[in-house]
Amino acid sequence: MAVIEVKKLCKTFKIKEKEKGLKGSIKSIIKPKYKTKKAVNNISFEVEKGEVLAFIGPNGAGKSTTIKMLTGILFPDKGSINILGYNPIKDRKKLSYEISSVIGQKEQLWLHLTPYDNFKFIGTMYDIPDKIVDKKIQEFIDVFDLSDFINTPVRGLSLGQRIRCEIVAALINEPKILFLDEPTIGLDPVVKENIRTLIKRLNKEYKTTIFLTSHDISDIEKLCKRVIVVNDGTIVMDTTMEDLKYHYLNKKIIDVKMSEEVNLDDEDGITILKDKGYSLKIEVDTTKKNIKDVLNLLNQDHIIDINISNVPLEDIISSIYKKGKK
């Protein structure tokens, strides 16, 4: 059963343009000029109940604009949206009881209140009786391990603890759909992993549909089964995680610093991106070559520093986009 149905959605923004310098500033007061930007251009998709969907794309691709239209914040220019049977624009208030959203960089909790007081406050806003809110808070404390800081004012929490509380706060109304916009942005790897575990658990235990945007490939790899890639406001790809992994996430980048010069040439599965004698940047196609095999080609006793990373999301998307154009 589809809980999100989007058909031919469009949104255009009017952006004020200003010429450079003092003359330009005065001109823009007298005769302002505007340009239009199609932020979302004729997109259609559906999301099934209980699905964890990654909605990814580079900056300015139209991800957040889409989320804002899905949650009833922005008015679409054209197209239709159906969220759990509601039209987000006409039924924004009714829909707000059924969904929640967490925006990575935005604080939604009151800083001088404790997480407990924040959760109680949110419970009241959603007309949930006190007894049920108390029961829910206790459940969340146990499930998401909040006991150490449940009574510490939010301003005193670490960033990771705060984001955990932000996500838990979004669950008080038992949302059927949770919109997560960059939930792990700015977090260290350990905290990121904690947040991913939390998201996985809430999808498993509460069957919550998750609509996720992230620039972190690991978030998407570890959480989602389906991926929609957007660029310039249009859907470039709508596929399964397995398919994306097989075709696009099979490459790793190895940055290595050696104490002795190394002579390594391109071969099947290995591309030398940068060679400065003592430091190398190597792209490895993991479907053809194992990381371990590549490391064996280097003299491991002479490795001073090494970093293995995924290919940046922007690169993956641009390659998908290029393929789409072909």
């Binding site: 923004f13 914040i73 009151w110 800083l111």
Partner: protein, 261 residues
């Protein structure tokens, strides 16, 4: 309604963290009153009554009107502008309560915490400095309290209304500046009665009359006919401002242009 009582309650708890700010406001309040006390004392040297106000009434007018301004919370003029400009209004809009109700309740709660401290302090200060308010009749206190509550509410709603213009223009702050100066000059520092007769007629239609002058005038020089006139004007203002706030907010939300995340 329960939601807004909770917003009131939690704003109150939140504001307790900034309690030291209230103390600084009290100090600033004393300084203002002290300076004006000396100015008015000098002006009243050769007169017992100016524009119908004795020195005692004039000082109590200033004590009460200034109290009102000191309790004024910045939330109504700052928050909507900042949230509209930054786009963070979008994260409150899709919650199951009214954005306007949320800002207004926060404004009331922040004012309430200040008034709890400042009302007793200002009354003690006034009695010690100026002496008890002459001809004060306790049986009319209900009119005065209602008029003060409406005046304070109107002040918040008008400021919210001005802030909502941030939906349509780059910066609504100059409008706040103008509003604030009108209320301060004609509603606090100098009662409307002191202005030239022709100007008085115009000023009675300005927010200064319903927000500050009206309630304070009732407190220092109560007259039943005047009370009906002031409360009537406040009610009309309240209805018009509420309609405008609602209208501008609905129009603004449709026009909201929050690009990107």
């Amino acid at each position: 309604m329960k939601k807004y009582l909770y917003i009131f309650k939690y704003t109150f708890i939140n504001e307790l963290s900034y309690f030291s700010k209230v103390v600084f406001r009290v100090v600033s309040y004393f300084l203002h009153i002290f300076v004006f006390y000396n100015v008015w004392k000098y002006i009243y040297q050769d007169n017992n009554v100016i524009a119908g106000f004795s020195l005692n009434q004039m000082m109590w007018y200033l004590i009460l009107a200034e109290l009102f301004m000191m309790a004024d919370s910045r939330v109504a003029r700052k928050r909507p502008i900042e949230e509209i400009k930054s786009g963070s209004i979008t994260y409150i809009m899709n919650k199951p309560y009214s954005y306007i109700g949320y800002v207004f309740t926060t404004y009331l709660a922040e004012g309430f915490i200040r008034l709890i401290v400042m009302v007793p302090v200002s009354l003690i200060f006034g009695i010690l400095f100026v002496g008890p308010l002459q001809d004060f009749n306790i049986k009319f206190i209900g009119f005065m309290i209602i008029s003060f509550i409406i005046g304070y509410s109107l002040n918040g709603l008008i400021q919210i209304l001005i802030s909502l213009f941030a939906f349509f223009m780059e910066d609504a702050t100059p409008m706040h500046w103008l509003y604030n100066k009108i209320v301060l000059i004609f509603g606090v520092f100098f009662p409307i009665d002191m202005m030239p007769h022709a100007l008085q007629g115009i000023l009675k239609y300005t927010p200064a009359y319903v927000v500050s002058y009206g309630p304070t005038k009732l407190a220092v020089d109560f007259d039943l006919m005047n009370a009906i006139k002031i409360l009537g004007a406040q009610s009309i203002y309240l209805i018009i401002v509420l309609i405008l706030v609602n209208f501008i907010y609905r129009r603004g939300v449709k026009k909201l242009n929050v690009n990107g995340g």
